[in-house]
Symmetry: C2
Subunit: 696 residues, 2 copies
């Protein structure tokens, strides 16, 4: 599936997954006849905006592809069959057709969509140009999914202000934790010249609802440090131009030691006047190239990256110094909270990596500038298939927060296994922090509705690269799409998002929709079943993090242990007898996790060290649960493969074959997981499987 010349690629785009959920698959004659009345003319009062132009282009492309209709374009509403793309400034165009109260409900990215049955017309009215774009994609989605255009009366505002992706791309063309080829942005230490591909990427992101991208790795190496210099800023500006046309702001990850490495200073001390001035000049220079530059992402004092600790300063000192430089331009500083001791001694049980972010940042609440945003991974460890949520959410009422997910499947099958993460993210977003008593779910923290944040929202590590189909595993596109949709509206159900994606990508054949949807929806649980059990995490091969290795990190420096012995397993993170991590949550959750009887099964080993014979709420012992889930996980992986096989002929052959090969690998690799995990625990516990299945 991967490779081939550019000519082949373009010819194959309809077939190889490149078109993704924007394939705009041709509709049947019956469907066409239902929609044809609406599809004649675009009313476009405002023509000089790049964003509106993108909307128009997309609409022309989509309608032409699905319905083989070439729309006409006018500046005013004429007769019937109009699709109106207007902003609130163009209200006179739709006089009397729009409820002005509803217009007042729109935020700067929101839109109205309203059908006008009497004239077979659709009005999309954005508060600004961006609203038109999002509304256009919404309309196209309705057409793609063959939803009714009758009686539409929608007011849509994105729930999250920041809806972002972090690309971990390096300028040598590699992608850190990238599982779908190389960078879309860089090769050979310069920018790629395939700007068209970046534009297609922008279309995908925008269509899913995203509005921000930081396109270089948070680990900023030597060449990448120079992205904020005149050597590369003209190219950064070109990328920003492309993204801007799709409503997306451009950010960069920066090297905290830039004043030394670029500026020739002998320090990067945030309180040093020369350093502060250097950054001010530097930021001014960036905005000369990109007047609407979004800001920067900073990984400081983390995993050997430089930061303020070097100078005896704290994270507030470090981030505020940068924030001051960005403040005049409206730029934001994303400051990552992934700070922990990565040189831990496994013999020292008093140190708990899970505690680190809270311990580092909670005491600083209120000390950060208004344009600093703390970027907090969903869990306290590192994007495991299952872990608790970060106790920082809701714990810093005076500090802007964004939640960070990982769309890249670093620990969840690396896009060789199917692992659809929307259900996981839903659980996290819906998790009640109790920060303001019952009813303070994480989604209400990060959308800013509970605290007076200046900036907030959701960001995530991207899963895309220059593979033909963007994400390696074509079904992994669903994670990217779904991520965007969730950031726009966390209330969408997993089922709704899945249904949209399948229909947009593969069409509306009910068999395909049912099978692929069910496959996606159950795949996270399947992956969890055959990998590390009950929330304990890790058990992967060091460094590349692929495949089972129960003791892979057990005696290592990374603070990631399971403490399995002949009697039991798990990490005691209770306040009473453990590391005290459970106490970092608000009392309701702290108590739930503290008590082994109320701690949910799926996180039992994250919070407690228990005997293998401990009975779960399911009634099974821990050891039997391990055996059962691992046997079941493989059976489920086999079922995924056979369900996919049953779709042959209903899926474009190249995609079908590529995905089938991945399922074949998944089945084999899930057996490796099953057998190593089961053998490990059987060898350690000496407790036989009740069902006498084969354990080596």
């Amino acid at each position: 599936m991967i490779g081939g010349s550019i000519v082949t690629d373009i010819l194959n785009r309809k077939e190889n997954g490149y078109e993704s959920w924007l394939a705009y698959l041709p509709k049947s004659e019956v469907t066409k006849s239902n929609y044809k009345p609406f599809l004649k003319n675009i009313v476009l009062p405002k023509k000089d905006s790049v964003v509106v132009n993108s909307s128009k282009e997309e609409l022309l492309r989509g309608i032409s592809s699905m319905f083989q209709v070439e729309l006409t374009i006018s500046t005013v509403f004429e007769g019937t069959s109009n699709i109106v793309l207007a902003t609130a400034d163009d209200l006179e165009q739709v006089d009397g057709l729009i409820d002005t109260d509803k217009v007042a409900q729109l935020n700067s990215e929101g839109y109205l969509m309203k059908s006008v049955p009497e004239s077979d017309s659709i009005i999309i009215l954005g508060k600004t140009d961006k609203g038109i774009l999002y509304g256009t994609f919404h309309l196209l989605r309705l057409l793609q999914t063959e939803s009714s255009l009758q009686n539409i009366d929608i007011v849509e505002n994105p729930r999250n202000q920041i809806r972002m992706l972090n690309e971990w791309d390096n300028m040598d063309g590699s992608v850190e934790r990238g599982y779908s080829g190389n960078s879309l942005f860089f090769e050979d230490n310069r920018f790629v010249r395939d700007w068209d591909r970046i534009k297609d990427y922008a279309r995908m992101l925008s269509s899913s609802g995203l509005n921000a991208v930081a396109f270089n790795n948070v680990n900023v190496h030597e060449v990448e440090s120079k992205l904020i210099t005149p050597e590369f800023l003209p190219d950064v500006a070109k990328v920003a131009d492309i993204f801007r046309a799709y409503g997306i702001k451009t950010y960069l990850s920066i090297n905290y030691a830039s004043p030394i490495e670029l500026g020739g200073l002998d320090t990067a001390d945030p309180l040093d006047e020369n350093v502060r001035n250097w950054w001010k000049e530097k930021v001014k220079e960036i905005y000369e190239y990109i007047p609407d530059f979004g800001g920067v992402v900073v990984k400081a004092d983390s995993e050997h990256r430089p930061g303020p600790f070097t100078y005896g300063r704290n994270h507030a000192d470090g981030s505020n110094m940068l924030a001051e430089a960005f403040e005049p331009f409206g730029g934001i500083v994303f400051w990552r909270c992934f700070v922990y001791n990565c040189l831990q001694d496994w013999r020292d049980r008093s140190t708990d990596r899970a505690r680190a972010a809270y311990d580092h940042f909670k005491p600083l609440d209120g000390e950060f500038n208004d344009n600093v945003v703390l970027q907090i991974k969903n869990g306290p460890m590192d994007f495991q298939v299952r872990e608790g949520v970060s106790p920082l959410f809701g714990a810093m009422p005076k500090t802007n927060q964004v939640l960070e997910f990982q769309v890249a499947q670093e620990y969840t099958g690396q896009q060789r296994h199917l692992c659809y993460l929307i259900p996981q993210w839903k659980e996290i977003l819906d998790f009640d922090t109790y920060a303001q008593g019952e009813g303070t779910p994480i989604k209400s923290v990060v959308d800013g509705s509970k605290f007076p944040y200046t900036y907030c929202g959701i960001t995530a590590v991207s899963n895309s690269g220059n593979d033909e189909n963007w994400t390696g595993h074509t079904l992994a596109q669903a994670n990217l799409y779904g991520y965007g949709r969730l950031t726009w509206n966390p209330e969408l159900s997993s089922e709704e998002i899945t249904d949209e994606w399948v229909k947009m990508t593969f069409g509306t054949d009910p068999v395909v929709v049912k099978e692929v949807s069910e496959m996606l929806l159950g795949s996270w649980r399947t992956y969890e079943n055959y990998t590390s059990p009950l929330g304990v995490g890790w058990m992967v091969n060091p460094n590349h993090h692929y495949g089972p290795n129960v003791d892979g990190y057990e005696y290592d420096r990374w603070g990631t242990y399971h403490f399995a012995d002949w009697k039991g397993i798990g990490v005691d993170r209770t306040v009473a007898t453990g590391t005290g991590y459970a106490g970092q949550y608000f009392p309701e959750n702290a108590e739930m996790y503290e008590n082994v009887d109320t701690c949910p099964d799926e996180l039992l080993l994250f919070f407690h060290h228990v005997p293998y014979t401990h009975k779960l709420k399911s009634g099974k012992t821990v050891i039997q649960h391990i055996y059962d889930t691992h046997f079941e996980g493989v059976e489920e992986a086999e079922e995924l493969k056979s369900r996919w096989s049953s779709l042959e002929g209903k899926i474009p052959p190249m995609i079908f074959q590529g995905v089938l090969e991945r399922f074949e690998h998944q089945v084999e690799h899930s057996k490796e997981w099953r057998d190593i995990i089961n053998t490990y625990f059987y060898r350690k516990s000496g407790i036989a499987d009740e069902k006498n299945r084969k354990i080596y």
Copy 2:
């Protein structure tokens, strides 16, 4: 210790270990006065030989450095104080002073040394020039170690015909499994230009008794494949010139697929006429550049290297084809027996990597040409700190064999830990195979005294590189020196070799000699104590093989398992219930290993799976043995450090400091080994240490 400019290096050579055991340390006045009578004139009847010239140069250098005496040179014996360097052709020079019967006992590399007290003279008489060189180094060794020159009457022949080193150097300058800097031969995909350093290396090797070097890695990659082409043969010839002057033959490792990669053929099938002709022409070409080229080393069908299996041929087909090409020129083909399935399934207990070499090669006995030599690693696995010996020794009476050791400390501390391997090699050489009944030790197999081999001897992977002191750890020089000495004479005791090396390297101070000798002699056991127990092997981190990782290879494809569970540990290699490997030995050994009661403790887990509570011959249980040895090993490492510290002032400061730093690391790292191994087995067995020491 490592680094510094070339100028500094040369200035520091007396101080940084560069001069190795050829430092020729200045002697005290008392010592000088004892030897001065002998040190006046060299009698050199034959002047036109490069080897004799090397002998003369070395003698001048050594005497000058130790005694500050500049010897005169004459062609005839004159008066008193003559050191005669003659060959059997020059017998008239020493008429009446030499017993001609003894001359007849010399082989082509042997020599006589005889003192003539009445004229304070020493006669060194080689059968050929090479004998003069070895005799000269012998004389210098006597002077270095301050041995008496009175009443010397020695006949020395090397016991092994082939005394070889395999350098695993790549042309990019790296050294596979190299722990002492980069290559002495290559950098940046060409030859180095520091030919002087290669000459000094040749002096070291020759002084220890070696006579053969293959100086590129047995894994022959793309560039290295071209070493046998006119692009590089002129440089190979230069290296051969340097080695030749020190009695050393030059060999190369070759790529079995050369006919394809260099010759443009579409096959490397050994029975293909074009392939056979290609090799014949190729070998002819090599000999045009190097008329006394030694031959080639071949790693074929091993660890993804190409070989005859690709064409459905066997190892005899593959090696004989090459041997035919080399036969007219007297060249040898070393064919490595390190052939096994490296894609094993850990779940399949019927496959045993230990069996592989015997299973592959034993059936082919008698099918190999006379100039093929099978190169057999000392053990059936891969240079572990302890494993059984290869059952192939003595099992192929009709097939030339060389024994392969590893001087490079891949699995024995990587030259960061002290691990003096002479005692290990002695045990192996002395191991009685019973191939011809009692009294058929391995040394008698590989020296050709038991079977009518055309070629035989010993080879080893080198431990040297371009670090200032050649071997990273200065004390690791002792392994290189001792290896050479053992190949010359396997009857030398570890103590004799150690005593020589310490005195030659650090002088004759009795405190230094006693301390360093004892440190060296006990260090293998110390390393074994704190690493993998009772012969089970492995338990190292994958790939780089450094540091403890008990399950590192346990679920991997490399066939290297310990099968530890809650009850016990070890690999059942018995005939009765296991893989049958034990049955590959001759009956006496097969029975010894088969029976758990007669199997030696130190190999117990190599041959048997036993409960942790199994009582060793020492009276300890297996688990208590593990705990005890690991605690003891660390104590011994600490003692090594403190003993070395006590020598401050008696060792050149740069060497002292460099070695001290390595001991400091060794102590810390031995604790890591101790704690991980002990914790692993405590967690698994649940059996507490009888002495209640700290297990994490």
